[in-house]
Amino acid sequence: MFAIATTLVSVLAGVAIFGFQSLELRRHQAEELNARMEIIDAMIRHAGDPKRWPMLGDKLESFTPANGSIRYRVDCPDARFRFAPDDALARARDGIDLIHFDGKRYMTLTRRVPPYLERPEVRLVIAADTAPFDASRRVLGVGVLAVSLVTIALVSLLGWWVARKGLAPVDRLSQRARALNPDDLSLRMPTKGLPAELEGLMAAFNGALDRLQDAYERLASFNADVAHELRTPLGNLIGQTQVALSRPREADELEEVLHSNLEELDRLRCIINDMLFMARADQGALAANLETVSLAGLTHKTADFLDVLFEDAGVTLEVSGDGVVAADASLLGRAVTNLLDNAIRHGVDCKTVRVTIEPQDGKVCLGVRNRGGPIPEAHLARLFDRFYRLDRAREHSHDVHGLGLAVVKAIVTMHGGTVFARCEKGEVLIGFVLPGGAVATGEPHEPSARRIEPVGA
């Protein structure tokens, strides 16, 4: 590319220089002819006496070099005023002209000298051999060509070298990039000693690698967590069943084993269902079966369900504000249930859980606030991770398998919303933001569920 550009420029420059110099040589030659013309013209102009012409002829003869590089001719109707050694020169047109004879090329300058005394008008021709100029032009051409070629070669080489030198960091980076692999996620691209434009790129690239590493590690720890969560109940199931079957047992002993197995199995079922649910959310499944849901109504309904837990914990619930969203009521109910349950469970010296629902430029935000924290920033970001527990010691606390908030996130994602978790003034605030607005038809109403039968009467 660079070589082609150089060649092009050199050729153009060479041609221009050559053309310009040729013209210059031509001009120079014409000037020389002009100068001679002035001299001869002055000699002839006032020579009107036929007796003096032979002397003039001798002069012109003597002006003509042996190699014929300059030639003269004077044409006149009157033979007495002629000087014509070469007939070829008669062909020359007035002014400047080029003619060939004797195997040479001549530049000619022709002028008519007005009559004087006896002499009629004469036509004066001066011819100069162009060979020296042609030689100069050839030398010039070869020179220009040689210089051009050298220039092209040099510039190409230089260009290649500069490019090599300029791209050397990119080569280094490529080699480093090839070394990146999942086995060593901590590798980063170097940012020191790079040209400025590459430095920004590499910083951005390293940022992407940081995020990838984070995601990778989350996935890895998540896989380990899943395996761990499933392994415990499975181990119990296999172990206690084998023990039960290893010798004859009384019916009530066997019954006890079955009950215990059932509990473990139910735990497994819950985990697997939640995992499948979240896998669907991850695959981008969206909530269908949308109805117009009042978030305050949904919160009250959920609070009604969790009432005994609030009472047991000695916590009261305050709900303020309202907003309407298009949602799958049962899914969203599950999300709100998990948020409230989480607030009851993790509140510290918490007497009140406050739910605030407020519109936010076309969206609706629901936040659940309780006394607690402070939670370090790093933990806040991970609260919605699967199996993530702030307190590893609580791992086996009552039927919490650490998926509660992850399920909230999945449900909110399925509704095109986002979740958030913040610490403010000794309070923890966790909630979600959903696109606001009702379903195209229908009034806001308390979400209804399928009923097996009415309770009571």
Binding site: D266, F305, L309, S330, G333, R450, R451, I452, G456, A457
Partner: protein, 227 residues
């Protein structure tokens, strides 16, 4: 009570056959959609349990064809817990659906619901010396009035209507609180604990029993049922 089960998984078929027969249902089984449709169209069943994923003709297709001639109540079993799937099933005319893995208790409850069996039309329920008056919303034990909250009464009524049957947590949350999703909360345990304190607390004979891993049952056990 005659039921048709269309299901191709042998182990599932085996335990359903056993469980339902023991519950007093007379049960027919087929393993594929074509046969299922044929039986459903030619015989009179009180209810049909139809698996969504079947070899040959799938559940929804069977249902659509059946609905052209008969309105037998149908419960769809779906392995894919996807909303679209349920909607397709319900849209094709299913009366209810269960997501695999489902609990046997829940299947029983749904069957009872759609066959209108065991729907106590009675307005009073007696379990041992516990009396419920569903109209007046009053509960007494050994003649003494029990002071129950509205939710506690509703919970007791749900158990009382299904006297001697195990009632799962899922069914309780659905019937008492109108919540039809799995929750990982212990609301039901806490509510049962409170109810138990009020109805059994002062009495030697316990009526409200826990069946581990399954649910709760309200019944008078002659042996005293001390837990």
């Amino acid at each position: 009570m005659k039921i048709l089960i269309v299901e191709d998984e042998p182990k599932t078929v085996a335990y359903l056959r056993k469980g339902l027969t023991e519950q007093g249902y007379s049960v027919d089984f087929v393993g594929d959609g074509e046969d299922g449709l044929h039986l459903a169209q030619t015989l009179d069943y009180d209810a049909i349990v139809l698996d969504g994923m079947l070899p040959g003709l799938d559940g929804v297709a069977v249902l659509e064809r059946l609905r052209q001639t008969r309105q037998t109540p149908v419960i769809m079993l779906t392995a894919r817990d996807s909303v679209d799937d349920r909607l397709r099933g319900l849209g094709a005319g299913a009366d209810d659906y269960l997501v695999k893995p489902f609990s046997f208790l829940e299947l029983l409850a749904r069957l009872q619901a759609i066959t209108r069996r065991g729907r106590g039309e009675a307005t009073t329920i007696t379990v041992g010396d516990l009396h419920l008056d569903l109209l007046a919303r009053r509960a007494t034990r050994a003649g003494r009035r029990l002071n129950l909250t509205a939710k506690e009464f509703a919970l007791l009524a749900v158990l009382g209507r299904r006297q001697s049957q195990i009632v799962s947590k899922t069914i309780i949350t659905e019937l008492v609180w109108d919540i039809n999703f799995d929750t990982n909360t212990n609301v039901v345990e806490v509510a049962i604990k409170r109810l138990r304190a009020k109805i059994d607390g002062m009495f030697e004979t316990k009526l409200l029993h826990t069946v581990r891993g399954m649910g709760y049952v309200l019944e008078h056990r002659p042996d005293g049922g001390v837990e």
